[in-house]
Amino acid sequence: MDSFLEERGAATAKSPAAQAGSALLPALHLPFLPPHLFQPASSHEHKLNFKKSKEVCLSYIQDSMLQKQWKRAAEFLTFYIESLEKDFSTEYMGPSEMIWRIGTEILCRHSHSSMKEFNSFIEQMKTLGVKRYLKVCLEHAFHLLCNGLIDEAYQNLSLAESWRFGEQTAVQDKEMKLIQAYRGLLDYYRWSKQKNILLEHGQDGFEDLSVEQEMHNCFRKAAVNLKEIIKIPGVWDLFVKCYVDLLEFYGDHNEARQVLNEYAYNSKFPANPNAHVYLYQFMKRHGESKKSLISALKILHDIVPSHELMIDFNTMLQKSKKRKKRRLGLEVIFAALDYAGWKENVKAWSCLARQVKQIVNSEKHLDWIKQEWNSRKDWWPAFHFSRYLAKRNWQENESLSYEKALVAGILLGKDCKYFKYVSHQGCKAQVKRFRILKKFVNKHNPVYLRISGLSDSSVQP
C-alpha cells in the first residue's frame, strides 16, 4: 500500500516536469537586483547616530511602559525629548506625536504628577503642531473631565473652537465639529443642572427668571452643536441621547422622532444597535403602536440576538394573536439563550418555559419546538443541562432550576440528568411546584420522543 502511494506521488511529481520539457519553454525573466548588491555591508550600518540612538531610547520607553515602570519611562523620555529638535517632518508618527502620547500616559500614571503639571505639559504640546492642535485640545478636555474639572474643560473647548489657522483641512473640519459637539454636551450638562434647580424650586413655588433664562440659553447652545454633529454619519450615542432629551423636554417630539429614525435607519450610518434601542425606548415612552415597537425590536434582534430587550420582545410576541409572531417569539428566546450571558437569567428561562408549556399543553405547533431544538440538541445539553449545572442551579437559585428543569424535561425527556436531579431534589425538599412539574413532564413524555425524532408519529400539524 505504502509503496503504491509513493509511486503515485512520484508519478504526479514527475509529470509536470515532463510536460514542461516537451513544451516550448517561455523565456525566463530575471527580477531586478538592488543597485548596490555587491557593496559589502559597511561599518556605517553599525554607526550609532542621532536617529538610531533615539530609536533605541524609544524602545526602552515602550518596554518600561509595558512593565508599568513609570519612573523609568520618564527617565528615558527625558532623553528622547531631544528628538523634537529634529522633528520637522510631516510624518504621522513623528517624535512630537510620540512625546505627546507617551508623556500624557506617564503623567496620568505617575504617582508624583499633578494636574498643574499635566496642564503645562499639554499647553506645550498644543504649540508643537498645527495639525495636531485640535486633537490635543480634545484629549485635554477629556482628561479634565475625567478629573471632574468641568468648567476648565468647557473653557478649553471654547478656546479650541475659536482657534483659526490658515485653511482648514477636511480632517480638521471634522475635529472641529467634534470639539463643538463636546462643548454642546457640556452645555447640555449645564442645562440639565439648571433644569433640576428649577424643578426643585418649582416645587417650592419659587420661580427664578434668570435661572430659567440661563437654562434656555444653554439649551440653544447645546442644541445647535449637537444637531450639527449627528448629521455626519457616525456613532453618536451620547450626543443623540442628549439632543433627544432636550427636544423631548421642550415638546418637540416630531423632531426627536425624526432624529432617532434618521439615526437608526439612515444607511450611511454604521450599524448601531443602540440606535434601535433609543428609537424603541422613545416610541415606548410615547405609547406608540405595538406594531412599530415590534418592528424596531425585530431589527435589534437581527443585529444583537442577545440584547436584553429580547425579553420584552419575546413577551410582546407571545401575547400576539398572530401565529407568525408567536413563532418568532420562540425563535427570539431560543436565540437569546444561546449566549452565555443569559445562562442564569431566570426571566429568560421562565419566558421559554412558559411558551414551551403553552405549546405542549395546546399540543399545537410542536414542530416549532422541534425546529428550534434541532440545531441545538448537540450542544445545549452540555451547555445548559449538565448534572453539574443542575447541582449548582439548585443550590444557588431554585426558581431558575425549576424553569430550566421544565424545559429540560420537555426537550430531553424525563430521564435527562438535569430534570432528574432537580425534580428529585425538589420532591425531597417537599416543594409543591416540583411535584407538579414531575407529573407534568411524565405526562408529556411522548412529546420528547416526537421532538427528538424518536417517534414515528413526529409529523404533526
Binding site: 555587491f38 557593496q39 559589502p40 559597511s42 561599518s43 556605517h44 553599525h46 554607526k47 550609532l48 547616530n49 542621532f50 536617529k51 540612538s53 533605541v56 531610547c57 524602545s59 526602552y60 513609570w70 519612573k71 523609568r72 520618564a74 527617565e75 528615558f76 523620555l77 527625558t78 532623553f79 525629548i81 531631544e82 523634537l84 529638535e85 529634529k86 520637522f88 517632518s89 512625546i99 508623556g103 506617564i106 503623567l107 505617575h110 508624583h112 504628577s113 503639571e117 503645562s120 505639559f121 506645550q124 504649540t127 508643537l128
Partner: protein, 574 residues
Amino acid sequence: RDFNERCAQCSEVNWGLTDGGRFYCRSCHNVTERTREVVNTDFVSNTRIHTISKGLRKQEETDGGCEWYVCEGFQLVLKKQAEALEALGVCPQMKDEILCNFWRRYLQKSKQAYCNRPAGETIKALSVCDSSTDVDSEPDRPSVLHLLSLSESEGDLQTDCSFASSTSKVSESTSVRSGSVDGSLYLMKNRKETLRMTMPMTLSFCYMALLWLREPMTLSDLLRFVVEGHIPYLNVFQHFPDKMKLCGLDLKIFCVESWPVYEEIHNKMLELAAFLDLPRFPDITDSCFLHPDMLCMKYLMEANLPDELHNWTCRVVKKICIGEADFLTLVPGNKSTRKVKYDVLAVAVIVVVLKLLFLLDDHYEWLLSDFAEERNKNNKEGGPYFEFKKWYKVIKCSLDVEQKKLDEKRAKYLWRCEKPLFYSAKKKSKVLKRRQMVVNLQNQFGKLSGSVRPAEKANPSSFQLSWSEENTDGSCFHGHSLKGILQEKCGLLTAMNPDYWLCTVKLCTEKSCGHLAHYREVDFPQSYHFVLRLFSFLLRIQPSYIHDEVCVIEHKLFNKKLCKKPKYNPSLRK
C-alpha cells in the same frame, strides 16, 4: 564685561558685544548706544589663524558675525581636541609641534595657506561675485539642495543634519548664506587631489599625531574617549567664539550627528598621511605600548585571562613576525605593507592563542575545564589550574552587566547642546523656541524620573573591566596556571590539544568584497563568539573586524601547511 550698568529694558547685567562694537543685552537683545572703546580684533586666542587670514577682518554690521573660513573652524576644533588630549596626559609636544605641523602641512598641501596662491582667494572671489551679480550667475550656481545630495552620497560628511530635511524649498535654501566665507563653496570642492577636511578627519589628525609620538593610546581608546566626552567632538562648535557665526552649510560641515567609526577614522588617517607626504613614522619597537606583546598583556589583563597566556601570545607574534618594527611601523603611501590596527591585531592574537590551547569548538574547552576542576578539587597545593567554565561564568556575568549599562547609556545620550544651531536667521526664533521647550520638558520629566541629572563624567581610563588578585571571591584568573592543558615535549611545553580549526579556508580579497573574511555568528562555535564578543565590547568595534584579523593571523600561522595541503590531497581543492 567692563560695562556694568543695568539694561534699560530688563535691568539685567549681561552684556555682549555686537560687531559694531556696541553693547547689547544678552537677556533681551536690547542694543545700547554705548560702544566699546577698543575693538578687540584678535578674538581668537590662537595667533595661527592670523597667519592664514590676511589682514584685518572685515566686520559685517548686519548679522553680527565676523569673516571666517572653514579651515579656521577646523583649526579651532583641532586645538580643542589637542588640549583635551594633553589634559589626558599626552605629551605636550603633541599640540604645538606635531599636530600643528601636520595641520600646517595640510593647509599647504590643500593650497589653503602657506602657498603662493591660496585656494581660498579664488573661493572668496567667487563668493563675492556670486552675491553681487545674482541674476546672471544664477543658472551656473548649483543649488544648495544639489550640494546636500552630493555630500550625502559621498557619505563622509554628516548626512542627517537637521536642516537637510527642512530644505524642501529650493528657492529658500539657495538664498541662505553660510556664516563662514567659504562654507557654501566648501562642499562643492570635490577635486580628487585634495583631501577635504571633515569632522571625522579631525580625529584622524589626532590619531596620526598620537601614532607619531607613539603615545600609549590606541585608536579604540581614542574613540571611546570621544564618545565618553573626554575629547571634544560632538557640538564642538559651541566653543567657537561668539563672532564666528555658524549657519547655512556650515552646519553640515561642523554639526556631528553620529559617532566616529573605527574603520573610517583609520582609513582616513592612512589617506591623510599619504596626502601629507609624511616620512616613515617612528619605529614601533617592542618597548612601545602599541607593540602586540605589550597590548596583548593589557588585553589579557582586561579579559581576566591567566598571565601565562602572554608567553603564548609572544610566541605567536614571533612566529609570524608581526612584532617586527618593519611590519608595525606606518610608512605613508606605501601600499604594499599592511596597515596595522594595533589593538585589533593584539586581541586577534589572543583569540588565536585561545583557539590553539582550548580549541573553542564548544566541546574541547569544556572537557579541559572539567579536567581542571577535578584537579583543583583534589589538589589544593600550588596555584589553581585555569578553569574555562569558571572564567566564562565570571566574564559572562560582568560583560552582560556592562553591556546593558552601555546600551542604556547609548539610548540616553544627549546630542544637543545649549547653543542651538539654526540654518538661517529666519529659523532662529523657531529653533530657539524648540530648544526652550525641550529644556522645559526635560526638566519636567527629569523630575518625575527621580534621578538627578546625569552624574558627571567618570574619569577616563584605558581599562573598562578590572580584576584584582586582592578580591577574595576568586573572580580573578590572572594567577591561574595552564598546567592542566600543557604537556612537556622535548623540554618544551606544548599544548595538549593536537587539533585546530580554521575560521576560513580562503581569505577573500579586500578589494572585491570589502572584507577579508565573513562572519556570521551562527556559523561558529558559541565559545568562539563569546570571546569575540568580549573583545568587541572592549574595543567598541564589530566582532567581524576581529574575526577578519583572526583569519589573517591564522593564515600566516598555518601558511606552510595550507600551501602544502593541495599536494597531498588534491581532491580537497574543490
